[in-house]
């Protein structure tokens, strides 16, 4: 299955590179878009100095983790992102007839390489932050950052799976689900406690975004040295269970719409 995935990946890369100029322009515009977000956060700190006592150098880590993870998920899981198209044009019927896991096929059916622009910018920013802050270059801090990125990826993927699962009932994508994808991405650009205690609680217990954002973040900047904070991003793995169950129920309910 891994080999098949890489075959798909290779095909996607080749087909998108056929239109080289368009591809390059797309990557550039992606970078421009991420760059404006980075500039916005920079300007805010330029004007206000700090927020809740957090400095720019600290908050920028949250921003990069959130952006980097989102770009990975958006690039690799584009099939889930655009799942309503797969349902409405009947591609899903074709997927069902093949002897491979359904979710695997949906995910590998669309891989958007052009999102690499956002990823590249995040990597550059991450390297710049690490180079400027030598106190982060310790194995436990680096591991925490790695856990944060991994945890955020898992969080976004389970949200994407639920969002795609809803399409089984509505056949159309729902704009409201953007709150949970783009909204969570924008929220987690800052440590979650700045929005107030209520929001922090909601995002710890309902949508566990604080697990990948606030708790490891306070460990990272040395406000809380409890070792559990370092590994709490990994607990979001539990979220995958209900979202996969939801997906399975959806597949069973599915009725063809296309031709």
């Amino acid at each position: 299955m891994v080999r098949l995935y890489f075959k798909y990946l290779g095909m996607m890369i080749k087909s998108q590179l056929e239109y080289r100029k368009t591809f390059l322009l797309l990557v550039c515009s992606q970078m421009l878009s991420s760059f404006t977000c980075l500039a916005a956060i920079f300007f805010m700190f330029d004007k206000f100095g700090n927020i809740n006592g957090y400095k720019f150098e600290e908050v920028i880590i949250c921003f990069i983790v959130s952006f980097f993870a989102f770009s990975i998920v958006e690039c690799l899981f584009r099939g889930l992102d655009k799942f309503e198209d797969i349902i409405s044009d009947g591609t899903f019927d074709r997927i069902l007839t093949r002897p491979r896991p359904i979710l695997f096929q949906v995910v590998s059916s669309k891989i958007e390489i052009s999102k690499i622009g956002r990823m590249l910018l995040s990597i550059v920013a991450l390297i710049a932050v690490l180079a400027n802050q030598p106190q982060l270059l310790q194995w436990d801090k680096l591991l925490t950052i790695f856990n944060m990125i991994l945890g955020t990826c898992i969080l976004y993927s389970s949200i994407f799976i639920v969002r795609a699962g809803i399409c089984f009932y509505t056949t159309q994508g729902l704009e409201i689900m953007n709150i949970f994808t783009d909204g969570v991405r924008d929220l987690t650009q800052y440590p979650l406690d700045i929005y107030g205690e209520t929001i922090k609680k909601i995002f710890t217990f309902v949508i566990p975004a604080a697990l990948v954002n606030y708790y490891p973040f306070v460990y990272l900047i040395g406000r809380d040295t409890n070792i559990i904070n370092m590994f709490c991003p990994l607990f979001v793995v539990i979220l995958l269970i209900p979202s996969l169950i939801f997906w399975k129920i959806g597949v069973r309910k599915y009725r063809s719409v296309g031709s």
Partner: protein, 270 residues
Amino acid sequence: MLKTNLAFFKLEFNQAIQYRASALVGVLTQIAWGLMYIFLYSSFMNNSVGSTDMTIEQMSTYIWLQQGFLMLINIWRIDPKIFSDIKTGNVSMQLVRPIKLYKMWYYSVLGNKVARTLLRCIPLLIFASLPFLGQMRFMFQTDPFLLTTSIVSLVLTCLMNVAYTLIVIDLVFITHDETTIRQVFNIILQFLSGLIIPLQFMPEWLLSILKFTPFYYSTNLSFNIYSGYYNDPKEILIGIGIQLLWLIGFLVLGNVLLKTKMKRVTVLGG
């Protein structure tokens, strides 16, 4: 002539106004979005060393207006029918008609935008003015001068935005590269006209440059007149004058671009 163009406005308006349920869901999304930004910015304004001359009430009103009129100012979510016409070659059908293409497109985009905005802004602003939001609610402007000028400025902003959209459409027509052009023009518009962060939160040096661009005189002007942030009558009237000049500039540019293209039309598709 005007009657034909108004017919295009009506056609698009009536089509767009059908999607009431989806607009309602959109309103919920935008309320969540607005609240998130208001929380974020008020946290910045309350708990930091730096400061701004904007009050929390003005900032909240600005954000609610931005959410309420999102469909008017966003060039990403316009009806893609014109773009698909260009892509599939159906545009040749429009070319044989005895009407001006620019005007037809202009009125269609306008109709679409106005209908979508009306569906969203009324429920959203009603919610936003509920008293339980306290400082964060959408406030009413009672000063008659500020209210009138902000409405005039909003209308001009809308017309300017449609003209900007038409320039984007022209460029897509010329280059046949839809995604990139739309994306780049959208990013520029969003960032420079204060839709990512309000212009008042940007550094002074950038603001002094932006005063020479049309972006400073669109949503930034109309929303901030309404919120009372700009309240010097002379400054407001000059601002509206500059806005009018930019509107004319956009209209001329859009027409010229289309005319140069019209000399040699390549139609895609069959």
